[in-house]
Amino acid sequence: MASPLSSNAFRFPARLVAFLLLAASPSFASWFGKDKQDLPQWGLDAAKTPTPAYVKDAAAVVLFDEYLETVDAQGRAVEREREVIRILKPQGRHTNCEVSYDVDEKVNYFREWTIAVDQKQYQAQDTDFVDVGDTDTPVMLSTRKTRVVHPPAADVGAIIVCESEELLEPYLQETDWQIQSSIPVVFQALEMDLPAGRAHSEAWHKFTPVKPFEVAPNHWRWEIKDMPALDLRQVKSHPAWAALAARMSVQWGDAAVEGKDNQWRAIGQGTAKLEEHRPDPSPEITAQTQSLIAGAPDFYAKLSRITEYIQKNIRYFIVERGIGGLQANHAADIFRNRYGDCKDKTTLLISMLQVAGIRAVYMPVDSHRGVVDPEDPSIYGNHMITAIELPPNVQDPRLKAIVKANDGKRYLIFDPTDERTPVGNLPSSEQGSFGTLAAGASSQILALPVLDPDANGTERKGVFTLSPDGVLTGSVDTSHIGPEGADLRGFLKYTDEKERREAWENHVAETLPGVTLDAFQFTQPSALDKPLEFHYKVTVRQYSHQAGSLLLVRPRVVGSLALAFDDKPRIYPIDLDATGRWRDSFDIMIPSGYVVDETPDPVSLDLDFASYHSTVTAKGNLLHYEREYIVRQVVIPPDKAASFRLLESAILSDEKDSAVLKKQ
């Protein structure tokens, strides 16, 4: 098993996994290979499954995938997976089975057989299995490993048969069945064999629920046939893959109760219980907090001094061992070591706020919008942020990311792991998402806010001179606020002077090919809620183009706001990335002896989710361009694809339009 979610310090080791190209199980050399066994009958039977027509151009197809979860009296599960895959194309030869495991888990066995194209049968040997460490994230030490089998004779037309069994970690009483993958699945099943009297609940994400049948007392089986692949490679501006892929979750612990609200409450209570006493402040935390808030004139000052302290002083680093993927360290340790992951940063923040008399609670989320689904109560997600309770008398316009719980309390949503988005604001990728408020009996699922366009964006002003030989010189000043400013602060943090100059030159060159950056400066105020500014000077050869007696000049000098789009029918929502307001204002002094003969028409487009206005004017020897682009929503439904195309095509057309100069 492998998690379909990238680690962001809050790790839910998703039980039943998305196979990019497949998943099975285990580890330990002696468990594999040498215990030669005949290819089992279930594998031979599944191998006879014809390849259905809907598979189209998939690289491989899963013919059969069956999970059996056997839960003991203590609620701990053993998982068996049986899987049969047919390789259809050369690129499908990389298809394999794999099993993810951590220190609290044990792989009982993992076997693989191949039925080659000539019908010969092979069994994978010890040397065909390899353990892969969890090293994708450079700022992480993890004990999780994935055992991967490289099937022998895996060629086009071959069939891979895998079986594995794994004793799962004792502290999870939930399984997530990833029923959609990047390749089609002809038949799949999940069985839950529960002890007598143990309840379960189920929920579905992006899939019409399927009723189970009881194959034995309290032994349930769900079956799904003909699941198409989810392939987003050719889809422009799509939501995250995990937000669209169908999945199902089963609870058999405290969250196995009736009703989604009750399930979410139990999940939130589970998080609160897991982290109980972790935020308890130590004397050192208390002293540091009191020193920070001394003399703070109001709630915002008190709050922002604490949040900025954590953002700037606690280094992001993940140490993940077993339950450490779910449970934070103690606040005292985090404070002493000055590092931690998202759970740790939230823990220390809750701790320091507690000293300051401000109540805050954990909020598990996913770093990709749309992955956490209110219809699918689950701990599925990869990130932890903080919900800060606002006293009724606090009404501060700087605190924008506010949600109201169903008990009437207001919470400010804040991500302490994001080192640069100021308190009051929220990273764009988290806006419009959902999070679990872990607030004891008031625990619930909450929609995270989508902020007003004024909370994010860029203002860009440029003054240029065009020479008769087509060389454009000038200066540009930009000012960035909100999440956009935060992203650029990150860019500054992780680059040295040479790298950032080169990167900026490349960035500018995307819309000004051949540009030379003559000067480059930035102003980065220490306070995160102040705008980040860039000031740079450019020289661009061949900016204008001679066309007969005319000289063509593009009034939109630098920067592009257009998103990728196409004319294909749309079935998925369109992700607009971020709300915000972007303004450009450029003045170009045209060469003496020329006059502006024609300018492009103004563009004025107002839609419910966005608006775009631009004008080009000429006054004397000055060509002036300005535009304003406002995005009000982060995701729009597929039925607005025509409006989206209209908008993007208007932006694209405006960006490439030329003004015509002629000699006097």
């Binding site: 151009d57 060159a509 066309a547 003969d597 024609e598 300018t599 490439k656 339009d657 015509v660």
Partner: protein, 296 residues
């Protein structure tokens, strides 16, 4: 002969380590003439070797033992891409048409070898993606089919359908990219004025573009891209020429470079040449709207 993969490194004769050497090629003497063969590279035509094995060095076995030796390069005539486009433009700037890619040498081998690790559909998808940087903004490509993908002895042809919206308009004029495939392309060596390391362009190349715009009714041609004949003696040349005929205009662009490796002292000439190429490639085709007939 065991050689260094030039995509990875160059042989350092003073560094006495055989770990420098990557791959084997074969030298066959036929009628007294040495023929270089690359049996490890499937689909590599007889008599040619993969570009990473050209202009490189290694150990060659002779009757006298192993000696240092170099491999030959290829010329631009053996490494060609010809793009022939026929594009219908309407008055709103909508474009529809097709492009025929004809490839020889390394470019053809690259796609043929792709087809071993992937099926043809996947190769088409990747070919489509590879075209994106060369298409004007607003224009989409949809790969249709290959001809000769599995036959290394013939020219590899790819047919691509083109659609989308192109150009920009004002009240009196309509502007189209003069050089369809180059208007959005990032030209190498333009942004960087100085260079302190040698230059390796992998292999020489001949690019020939022949783009025919079929123009909408009600427009006349006001100006076409200026003819160009820019030469960097012994190294590279660019030619641009336009033909206007019966409501259409065909713009022919030929860029050839015949070098593989250049010393940094040659960089200023290289930079200058590509500045001229970049300038020429940004030219526009200007159409004038025909004046409306006056009513009674």
């Amino acid at each position: 002969m065991k050689v260094v993969d030039r995509n990875r490194a160059m042989l350092d004769e003073g560094y006495l380590s055989t770990y420098q050497l990557d791959d084997y090629i074969v030298i066959v003497e036929l009628s007294g003439k040495k023929v270089y063969l690359d049996p490890g590279e499937k689909m590599c035509p007889f008599g040619s070797i993969l570009w990473t094995h050209t202009w490189t060095a290694g150990f060659r076995l002779t009757d006298q033992g192993a000696i240092f030796a170099t491999t030959p390069g290829i010329t631009f005539k053996e490494s060609t891409v010809k793009r022939t486009a026929n594009l219908d433009i309407d008055a709103a700037g909508n474009v529809k048409g097709s492009v025929r890619f004809a490839m020889t040498g390394p470019e053809a081998l690259y796609w043929r070898q792709k087809a071993f690790m992937n099926d043809e559909e996947e190769v088409k998808r990747q070919f489509n993606e590879s075209m994106h940087p060369y298409l004007p903004e607003g224009v989409q490509a949809d790969f249709d089919h290959f001809i000769g993908l599995d036959d290394p002895g013939v020219i590899l042809v790819g047919i691509v359908n083109i659609s989308g919206n192109i150009g920009s308009a004002t009240g009196k004029h309509f502007f189209l990219p003069g050089l369809f495939f180059e208007s959005s392309a990032k030209h190498p060596f333009v942004a960087q004025e100085k260079r302190i390391t040698p230059i390796d362009v992998h292999c020489p190349k001949l690019e020939q573009d022949e783009v025919t715009y079929h123009l909408p009714l009600g427009f006349s041609i006001e100006s076409t891209p200026q003819d160009a004949n820019t030469v960097w003696p012994d190294n590279a040349m660019l030619k641009i020429h336009s033909n206007v005929k019966d409501g259409s205009v065909t713009i022919i662009r030929t860029l050839a470079y015949n070098f593989t490796l250049l010393d940094q002292k040659d960089y200023s000439n290289l930079h200058d040449f590509y500045l001229k190429v970049a300038t020429a490639d940004q030219q526009q085709l200007v159409l004038a709207r025909a004046p409306l007939a006056k009513g009674n």
